[in-house]
Symmetry: C2
Subunit: 318 residues, 2 copies
C-alpha cells in the first residue's frame, strides 16, 4: 500500500509499504479520509521522535475484523490511544493516560496517512449514517475540544474567552458555543474571523480583551504570549484551560495564579461518543474548516499547504 | 505608641507613632501577640511597595468600638483583607479579591507590629476562651492553609505530597493530616523533620518523591525547583496547589500540564471561622512552631532571627 512515512523528522511519500496485519482483537480499516493537524506538523519538525506512518485523524471502512465479522463494511472512527488495560492508570479508569500507551500515528503504532490502518476493536466507534465522511474525519479533534466540558462545568451565564482561532480553536469555538455561554474568540486573521461570523460567534481583536474579566479562558495558541494573555484576562478565582502544548519551557508569572487564586487545567484527548452524538444532531459543522484535499501521492504538498498562515483544514484522500 | 515602620523597603523601630483613630464601623485593638511571616520578610526585601506599619498575623483585645461597645475587653483576631463591598468581586461574594481592597500591614492599612491597630468590625472574630494567645496568633496562616480544602475536596484515600516544611508548610501539614489522607511531607532540615515526627506526620527526602504518583501535590516552597518537582510528582489528571508566590517569572514546562491533564490551583487567603473552630477543638497545635518572642523595641533583631534557616515562628509582644 501507499503511505506518508516519517523517519528522523523527514516526511516522505512511499508507494510500497507493507499493509498492516490485524490481530484477533483488531480490525483492518481502509482509510476514506484523513486530516492533518498541528501535532502532525510538530512531529515533522522533530518535537517528538517517531518513526513510521503519520496521521491520527481519520474516518474509514472496516475491511477485516476476525472476531467481529459483522463490522466489515461499516464506517468507523477510532480512539487514538491504545492502552494496556493493566497499568495503574488503566485500572483507575484513565486509559488515555496509560503508562504503556501506544498512539496512532504518534507513538509505536502506524497511523492514518495510508491506504490501511489497524486498531483494537475497543477503539472503534460506528459513524451514524447521517454524518458525512467530511464531518466524521473531525471526530478526534472535536472529542479533544469537548474534553473542556468533561473537565470543567461551563455555566450558561459564564463569560468565556477563547484565545486562538486556528484549526483546533475553531472546533473549540463551536463546542463552547453550544453551552450558551457569553463567548468571545480572539481571532487574528480575516479567514478565521469570517468563519466565526458565519456561525454567529463573536470575535474580537487582542486589544479588546478585558483584564481580569472572564470566568473561563481557553488558551489554544500554544505560545507564551497566549498564556500571559490568558493569565491577564481571567477573573480572580476563574479558570484557564490549556488546550495546546508549548515548545520547550516558557517564562511564566505563577505568582499571579496564586494571588488571584486561578485554576489552571491542562486538557488533551477526549471521548469520541459525545462528539459523534453532536455530529449526528448536526449541531457542529467542522466541515466548514476544510480548505483543500490531496491524494497521498501529493502528501508533501498537502503538508506544505497546511503550514501556510490562515489555512484551516487540509485532508488526505487515499 | 511604638511600632515597626517600613519605608522604602527599610524597616525601623519607632517609639513614637500616632495611634490609630477608629471610625464608627471599626474597632481599636490592643495587640497582644503578632507573628512574623514570609510575606513580611518579602516586604522588607522590596517585593511590594508599602509604607507604614508592618504585620498582619495578630491576636488582640478590643479597647474601643464606638458602634459595638460590648466588644470592649474581648479577645479577637482579624481578617486582613478590607474590602469595599461595592466592586464586581465583592458583589460576586469574592471579598478577598476586592478590586479596591486594603490589606492589614501589606497595602494601604497600618499593620499589627504596633501597640494598637484598627479594623472594621466585620473583619473581627472572637477568640474562644480555650484557645490561647499563642494559638490564636496563628489564625490567619491556618486560615490560608485551610483554603486548600475550600478549593479542592481531598478524599481520605488520596495520596498527598506537600513540598516544603517551613512556617506555612508545617501549618499546611497539620491541616492536611486532619483529612485522613496518605500524606508525605518533603522536609529538608532536622528541625522541620522533628516537628513533623512529633505529630506522627511522615516526612521524606526530596530523593524519595515518587514520579507521577500523587493525587494531590501542595507546593509551599515558592521556588522554581519546587514547582518542577510538583509537576513531576503529580499523577496524570491529578492536582497541584500553589500556596506560595514566586519571585518574578519562572521557567516552567507547561506542556507537561497539558499532556498529563494536570489541574493547577493558586491558593491564597482563607476563612477565619473554620481555623478558630479547629483551634477550639484543640485539633491543631500551631504553638509548636514558636521559637522566640521579642518586644517591639527588639523588632529588627526578631526579623534577623526569622531569616535564619530552620527558624520557625518568631513572635512580637508589644
Amino acid at each position: 500500500m501507499q503511505a506518508l512515512w516519517l523517519e528522523n523528522g523527514q516526511l516522505s511519500y512511499r508507494s510500497v509499504v507493507e499493509s498492516p496485519t490485524c490481530q484477533a482483537d483488531e480490525a483492518l480499516i481502509r482509510v476514506l479520509l484523513a486530516g492533518i493537524c498541528a501535532t502532525d506538523l510538530q512531529l515533522t519538525q522533530g518535537y517528538y521522535p517517531f518513526t513510521g506512518i503519520l496521521g491520527h485523524e481519520f474516518v474509514g471502512e472496516v475491511v477485516h475484523a476476525p472476531s467481529k465479522p459483522a463490522l466489515v463494511g461499516q464506517r468507523v472512527v477510532g480512539e487514538i490511544n491504545i492502552s494496556c488495560g493493566d497499568c495503574v492508570h488503566c485500572l483507575a479508569l484513565r486509559p488515555t493516560h496509560c503508562s504503556n500507551r501506544r498512539v496512532l500515528g504518534i507513538k509505536q503504532h502506524h497511523g492514518a496517512f495510508a491506504d490501511y490502518l489497524r486498531l483494537p476493536l475497543s477503539n472503534l466507534y460506528l459513524v451514524p449514517d447521517n454524518v458525512s465522511n467530511e464531518q466524521a474525519v473531525f471526530t478526534e479533534p472535536l472529542a479533544a475540544a469537548l474534553e473542556i466540558q468533561q473537565q470543567y462545568a461551563i455555566k450558561p451565564t459564564d463569560t468565556v474567552l477563547l484565545i486562538g482561532a486556528g484549526r483546533l480553536g475553531q472546533l473549540i469555538a463551536q463546542t463552547l458555543a453550544l453551552t450558551g455561554c457569553q463567548l468571545q474568540v480572539v481571532a487574528r486573521y480575516p479567514k478565521q474571523q469570517a468563519l466565526l461570523e458565519q456561525q454567529t460567534i463573536q470575535w474580537i481583536a487582542e486589544t479588546d480583551i478585558q483584564a481580569q474579566h472572564y470566568d473561563l479562558v481557553v488558551e489554544a495558541t500554544g505560545s507564551a504570549s497566549g498564556f500571559q494573555a490568558a493569565v491577564n484576562a481571567v477573573r480572580p478565582q476563574g479558570t484557564i484551560i490549556l488546550k495546546s502544548t508549548y515548545k520547550g519551557d516558557i517564562q511564566a508569572n505563577l505568582s499571579q495564579l496564586v494571588v488571584n487564586e486561578i485554576q489552571l487545567l491542562g486538557s488533551r484527548c477526549g471521548a469520541f461518543a459525545p462528539a459523534l452524538r453532536l455530529l449526528a444532531q448536526q449541531k457542529l459543522h467542522p466541515e466548514l474548516l476544510i480548505d483543500e484535499r490531496y491524494s497521498l501521492a501529493q502528501g508533501l504538498e498537502a503538508f506544505a499547504s497546511t503550514q501556510q498562515k490562515g489555512v484551516m483544514k487540509v485532508l488526505l484522500e487515499p
